[in-house]
């Protein structure tokens, strides 16, 4: 397996507040990696630093090249898609416009339309509501739209920021099933940060545990499930 994302010793934060301290982790081609952590551990900041939304120091290598300091739209055309926390669908646009927007960096019109049609097959709710404003949909539907939209750019790596946030347990469960399916069928690697450790570890091959901006533990999903500290802090048993 080749490593597609290699984050080494990054520091990042907001103004004078440093959040990440010498953070390092990797994601291999086609795998699902989860970063677990409590509120304020730095999960969102990690993803924001990787996709260039906030400045960082250290090194971020994506598909073999150094990308630290690149803008998010440049990273997107390199094959990195990021679904931000709170979904980030453009609520004023219709469902279909959101999907078209997701293909902004692509030029193959016919294929774009075919991709949109196939997303309507995958998530029929989106097809039913294609001309509705995205903001009028339920949280779960918007999260599906956000993920479909991110995948419209045909990325090699998908970053997901707490996809379960604000969703009912059943919806969350279905959502993680979908993410796993997409990963298996398209081979898109997924880096997901989550508080819901149970579900996230269920679809991941490896994981990291983040605490106050540092990785305190890492291993295969199986290892982390059996780790006493992880069980107590994140699995609740």
């Amino acid at each position: 397996m080749t490593t597609i994302l290699e984050v080494s010793d990054i520091d990042a934060g907001y103004g004078p507040v440093q959040v990440l301290r010498k953070l390092s982790f990797t994601v291999d081609e086609g795998e699902v990696v989860v970063i677990l952590g409590a509120n304020g551990a730095g999960k969102t900041t990690t993803l924001r630093a990787v996709s260039g939304m906030i400045p960082s120091s250290g090194s971020v290598r994506f598909r073999g090249g150094e990308v630290r300091g690149r803008r998010p739209d440049q990273l997107c055309s390199l094959g990195l898609a990021h679904v931000p926390q709170g979904r980030g669908t453009v609520t004023d646009l219709t469902v279909e416009e959101n999907l078209r927007l997701g293909a902004f960096s692509r030029k193959d019109q016919a294929e774009i339309s075919a991709d949109i049609a196939s997303w309507y097959d995958t998530f029929p709710r989106l097809g039913e509501r294609k001309d509705q404003q995205a903001g009028s949909m339920s949280g779960g539907e918007q999260q599906m739209l956000a993920i479909a939209r991110a995948l419209m750019s045909r990325p090699t790596l998908l970053l997901l920021d707490e996809p379960s946030l604000g969703l009912a347990p059943l919806v969350t469960k279905e959502l993680f099933g979908r993410i796993s399916e997409i990963n298996r069928s398209s081979g898109t690697a997924v880096l997901v940060v989550e508080q819901n450790a149970n579900l996230a570890l269920g679809i991941a091959s490896r994981g990291y545990v983040l605490e106050t901006g540092q990785i305190i533990s890492s291993g295969t999903a199986e290892d982390l499930r059996n780790d006493d500290a992880v069980r107590q802090a994140y699995l609740g048993h």
Partner: protein, 299 residues
Amino acid sequence: MSEFLQFTFIGLGKGAVYATLALALVIIYRTTGLLNFAQGEMAMFCTYFVWFGHDRGLPLPAAVLVGMFGGFLMGALIERLLVRPVSKKAMGNPLPIVIITIGLFLGLNGLAPIVFGEQAKTFPVPFGDGSVSILGASIFTRTLGTLAVLAVSVAVLWAIFQKTKFGLGLRAVASNAESSALVGVPVGRMLLIGWGMSAAFGALAGTLSVEGGLDNTLMALPLIYAFAAATLGGFDSELGAVVGGLLVGVITELLARYGTIGAYSVGQDLKLLPAFLLILLVLVFRPSGLFGKGEVKRV
């Protein structure tokens, strides 16, 4: 009856001017999500570019193109040099940008006479100064010409915003810049083009509104009517800006002629009052305007 019609036509003529400026306001709102208080003064400044081209011997349509090109550059420069550095520091707070547009309003107003001279410039009347008689009242050819330009502009802008990928990118950035960047939209370039487009459109609005001479007061009053027009029509609708502009023009003109407050007639002096009143009423009863989509939020 024919007097009523006559004042309606005069109102339409003024309304068409408000509508063009309102369209410039709509463009910048659609592309950046901002209210630009300097829109009128930017239009005034670009109209000087048009005058400059015409003064050097260009026919008016060519001079307008020069003005629009100059306007695009001016808008793009303002975005790049003033708006972008400040909005980076402002962290999503729109207030500093609004203050910048107010600064631009004052700055451009002061700069115009310094650059171009204090004397009002003689400026050609677009579409001639003839008139056509309809049902016993006369309507200026210039009003008809302006309405035609408006119709074409609305159609072109609508097509750009609704039917092109570029327009989709512009709208997306105005609505949610951060999220648009994450799906590959070059946000900086879009904002730059948005400022450029609206400033370029200002050159057209200015040219259509010059009456008599061109000086730096050209847009001071029309801007207020244009805000009323865009509020009435909805800030995110090109068609709304035009319908709003025409309505505001006709309503204020008819009120000026027939309206009374107690024993006093409204007249030209108090014409501004209904415009303000209109802004207030729309904001209270239908904040998204007649054609605006309004915000959809689900909790």
